[in-house]
Amino acid sequence: MDKLASLLHTSPAIAWMVAKLVIVFAGVFSLAAVWTWVERRGSAMIQDRIGPNRAALFGKIKIIGLAQPLADGIKFFFKEDLVPHDANKGLFWLAPFLALVPALMGFAVIPFGRSFVSGGQEYHLALLDPGNGMGLLYPLAIGGMAVYGVLVAAWSSNNKWSILGGMRSSAAMVSYEIGMSLAVVALFMRAGGYDPSEIITAQGGTLWKVLPNWNIFHQPLGFIVFFTCMFAETNRLPFDFAEGESEIVAGFNTEYGSMKFSLLALSEYCHLMTASALMATLYFGGWQVPFVQDPSVMLSVLSFLVKMLFFAWVFVWIRWTLPRFRYDQLMHLGWKAMLPMSMVNLVFHAWRMSQGH
């Protein structure tokens, strides 16, 4: 890193910052693109089909259809870019970006490996260094911004199906946010801090010598709430009320085509990646490796990636297993089950902490 920085006439800190930016954004973006393929193959596997396996690089190299996202991208670029006649043109253009930018930004605070020291300089494997003061409030704030992409896309299309989808999903996202935040607050209390690095450090070691000291074993109820809320926040089945193909055509993105649609679709997968990374960080020890005291940097990154991709797969798995909820069932679940459960979780852990001290 020092040599590279001196070659580019910058300090190692700045070179590292740029490198991190590229790693995080390009990484999340390309993982999201690959996950469109994983979803299609996964759905095919679950439904006993074959799925996309024909796309080939230069007409020869097939690698089980892994070139499919590339082909899709090229196709999207060459499709006609249509704007409906009565749409609000400015907002119609703005909406895909409003959806994509928060989806990509959410990942910035998550540490994807342990920090290391090289040449007297400490390098952190997270875009925002620990101790930035925002901590885990940042993904919550950015998650709140994500609603606007869906709602603006829905409203600006001037289409009845779109507006129905947008209204349903924004109401769902707003109501599930409360339960999610309360579940996260219980984690802050356990770790004694709200920085992701503090929360990960608090999850090192073992519990009763047989289990890794992860938050899921301390707060299983909190995890259930958080897990459910993540499905509502990412608009994935069983809660995909923004799209609801069998009810409202394609919901908020009915009027979108070509690259604008592709951005909306990609932003959903970016959300999925961020949500999986959050679950891995908050409840499964982030980069901690079970039963290993001080994992090496590479091992810690690998451990984080395995956990994150596992949860990303769970999202796919559940999408093709469970049917869609009804809208009133979703609201009942959010307000009458998730919110009380996360309140009970919070009060119980507060009580236990007050007994412990």
Binding site: M134, A141, I142, G144, Y148, L151, W155, M167, S170, V174
Partner: protein, 163 residues
């Protein structure tokens, strides 16, 4: 950085006032609050910035939803304001702006800054906010809680006449 965030805030606020379309005005309001959050970060108070975004995006979201549901937002608002109102509001804004600038310029903190010079402030953390709330401002905190509870009960009583 300051200029960028200040411009975002001011343009957002202006856009909110001048936009005839209510939904667009709501989005301009979000932009203004986003700019204010950026200013909070520059003031070494990331907690306030995060809370600003969490609280206000949710709140404006609900506002925009209500606008879409209750008003026919495709019709643009008609009817010009009376000239008296316009002049009165301009005068009020001038007085407010003058008083605010005067207050800031006369504040003790600014004088101290001129004497001692700027020093790097300690970044605000959630822990500090918590201790300040429960140690120094306990009464205010409890009163705010009571007011919010009353508002909640009021909302339920208004919407559900026969429980």
């Amino acid at each position: 950085m300051f200029i960028t965030f200040a411009l975002i805030t001011l343009l957002g606020a202006l856009g909110m006032l001048l936009q005839k379309n209510v939904v667009v005005a709501g989005l301009c309001m979000v932009a203004a609050f986003f700019g204010v959050a950026g200013l909070f970060v520059l003031l070494a108070n990331p907690v306030a910035a995060a809370l600003q975004i969490i609280v206000y995006t949710g709140a404006i979201m609900v506002l925009v939803l209500f606008v879409i549901m209750m008003l026919n937002s495709h019709e643009e608002e008609a009817g010009a304001a009376r000239p008296v109102q316009r002049w009165l509001s301009l005068a009020l804004i001038a007085v407010l702006a003058f008083a605010a600038v005067k207050l800031v310029l006369a504040s003790a903190g600014l004088n101290a800054l001129a004497v001692k010079g700027a020093e790097m402030p300690q970044a605000m953390t959630l822990q500090k906010v918590g201790t300040t709330l429960f140690a120094d401002h306990l009464l205010g905190f409890e009163v705010a809680g009571l007011v919010l509870l009353a508002a909640m009960i009021g909302a339920v009583a208004l919407t559900k006449r026969n429980l």
